[in-house]
Subunit: 415 residues, 2 copies
């Protein structure tokens, strides 16, 4: 059960007329659950992405990068399977994913490099590409631009997720222009920045030139998907994809025609969408019973803030204390102390649990009251606020607790 | 229950005639368990240590460093409490530990800076220094150099440890010289290098000059206590202390009189002792059901090997797979891939489970047999062998699995 997260229902999802989706059961993951999804985009779409920095990156990640470049971001189709990650599969895995792209291109009458493949699931096992290829015709026969198709797709890309993560919002850019942002993400374990999402897709119905789109997706990822962690494990398959499609009813307007205020609104809308999707991943993190927001502020630079935030977020001892609702808050101090940030002055650092001052002057605050802390720890949404007293930079990291269920889920994942 | 570890019995411990120990119940941790230990050393002893790099280092760590320097390593007494770490306690904590040293110095008629204080336990809570001070006379009245006193002390320094970690061995340096090495360590959670032990004490009955002793303790720590990890949490209190006492029956011989072969034997004996103590910590790690040895070899340098080893050792996904005895070995590849080692060529890396080749050429080995892997995963002692194919450096990291018991222990620690 996710922590304070209610996924959108089908009825709450807006449509984007020229994006079509379909999902089927290809029996890659389980016999009774949709596990293969196709998304098609209209001509003149632009797609940009950021991908895992894991050196053992999956074959589909490698192909995505190649295709985005060679097709100059003019992507027409995304094919996503769950069950098998197609990572750690060497040349065989690469060829299997290429074969899928080639067949899909033929089915849709587009170029092979206009297809982006995505896989998520178990690493080191081979992709049953035949199962995918055999379903391509089915998939393309029943494509739909309905709200329900988005809902079904968001479910079909899940692995250990307990709920689909869907985002759908309309945002007014100016008096005459309202855009729609539809997104979905999957992932709940092996979640750590670069990228944290495993898979995230966000579409916006306004034309954005490739170069600008690539910049936006990088900036947004750094402030959203790269700020969450469940277990510190950077996946081999992480991908965050930003899709820009023209919208005829908005006269196919391009972001190039917007003024700087309007561009700001657009970028913020995209960042908000990505942040909501990444927070949803943490709310549905494997075994999560708490949603923990770690605000690190007054750091010398953003990197320093992130380092401290992740050090706290990754500490199994901090995470188990939150699971137990036990204000064993010295563990937070220990995690700050080993964050490997130079020049930290521990005597100036202040640590708060929500608004409760826990530590200052290198030790427990005189005003600290354990009963108040116990009360705060009972909540499912808790903030750790850390004032580094070094400068003016800040960063926010989202994480979950470490529970028995995390161990159970990951000890049983393959069975 | 530790993994394949049988602690020494009292009878198996050698004596070092001029080192005296005593432990009492000071009711700092629990009402019915010894939690305060005093160790006294003869004149002309030399002591050196390495300490946590955690910025929130505990008050006693800070004082140890000051006293070692100002007393020029001529330490006469060690006072060790469990229950409270005296970390994150600011100036109050510092003064409390100083007060203990001052009182103990008076009791023993030595200088205050000849006392080293050690604390381990809960962070952020204040040291009940009165309870310690009130027991100093008791402690010093009943000091003993018996084997049993070592055994009792090794038990009294424990917190969540399930067994005492004791090392005792006699090593022949040459025809006429046999030395005794006695050591003890505690720690089973918040275990990560710099230092990993929380507390480790090793005494050797041969005079070693301070400068040499300090070099030995640093070198040895890097190859032993700094190569183990349970949860990646670097404690605020980690200390590894090497004690050199003269031995009258060996004519108070000093290491300065040894030739280079003999020095080698001595250093190896110390390294072996420290390695055995650090491995014992992992065998008794919180919730451990597996003892995992990660050998990383053919790296460009030792640091690179350590990075890869720790990346695998810290991965909660790898650790839960081992807990489940599930050869979900792609998780090892993922952890190697995000170790942030530059220039790794994933196509050259080979990964073995014991002797079973798991991965090569960027994917699963053609010869890999899942049934053999399942059989290996059933063992309690398992090796992960990683050939980086970069150079000739190597490093070995020891770690444990991540089990339900780890979560339980750390969710309940304070209660």
């Amino acid at each position: 059960m996710p922590v304070n997260y209610q996924p959108l229902t089908s009825e709450q999802i807006f449509q984007i007329p020229n994006i079509f989706l379909n999902s089927v059961i290809a029996e890659i993951r389980k016999k009774d659950r949709k596990d293969l999804t196709l998304i098609t985009l209209p001509e003149n779409s632009t797609v940009a992405g950021v991908f895992t920095k894991n050196k053992f990156c999956a074959a589909p990640v490698q192909i995505c990068k190649e295709h985005l470049q060679s097709a100059n971001h003019k992507i027409r189709a995304l094919i996503i399977n769950t069950g098998i990650a197609n990572a750690g599969t060497g040349e065989i895995g690469y060829n299997a994913a290429k074969e899928v792209c080639k067949n899909l291109a033929k089915t849709l009458n587009i170029n092979e490099n206009q297809v982006l493949p995505f896989s998520t699931g178990v690493i080191l096992e081979h992709l049953p590409s035949e199962k995918i290829i055999n379903n391509l015709q089915n998939l393309s026969n029943d494509l739909s631009n309905s709200s329900k198709a988005w809902f079904v797709a968001a479910n079909a890309i899940m692995t250990t997720d307990t709920v689909p993560k869907i985002y759908s919002k309309q945002v007014k850019i100016n008096e005459n222009l309202t855009i729609t942002l539809n997104g979905m993400a999957k992932g709940s374990g092996m979640i750590h920045p670069n990228m944290a999402t495993m898979l995230g897709f966000l579409a916006v119905d306004i034309a954005i030139p490739a170069r600008v789109l690539q910049q936006i997706v990088s900036d947004v990822a750094n402030k959203s998907f790269n700020c969450i962690t469940v277990d510190g494990d950077t996946s081999t398959n992480d991908s965050f994809i930003l899709i820009s499609v023209p919208n005829a009813s908005n006269k196919n307007i391009s972001a190039e025609n917007l003024n700087s205020d309007e561009i700001s609104i657009l970028k913020n809308a995209i960042l908000t969408a990505a942040t909501e999707l990444s927070k949803a991943i943490i709310r549905d993190a494997e075994g999560a019973s708490k949603f923990i927001t770690i605000n690190v502020y007054n750091g010398a630079d953003e990197n320093e803030c992130k380092k401290v935030g992740f050090s706290v977020a990754h500490s199994p001892l901090v995470k188990t204390a939150f699971f137990a609702s036990d204000p064993n808050l010295g563990r937070i101090l220990a995690a700050i102390g080993y964050a490997e940030v130079a020049n930290l002055d521990v005597n100036k650092i202040k640590v708060y649990l929500n608004d409760l001052l826990v530590a200052e002057n290198g030790g427990r605050a005189a005003t600290y009251n354990e009963n108040e802390a116990i009360k705060i720890m009972q909540n499912t949404d808790i903030e750790i606020n850390i004032d580094l007293a070094q400068g003016s930079a800040k960063s926010t990291i989202y994480t979950s607790d470490l529970s028995h269920d995390y161990v159970s889920i990951n000890a049983d994942y393959r069975s």
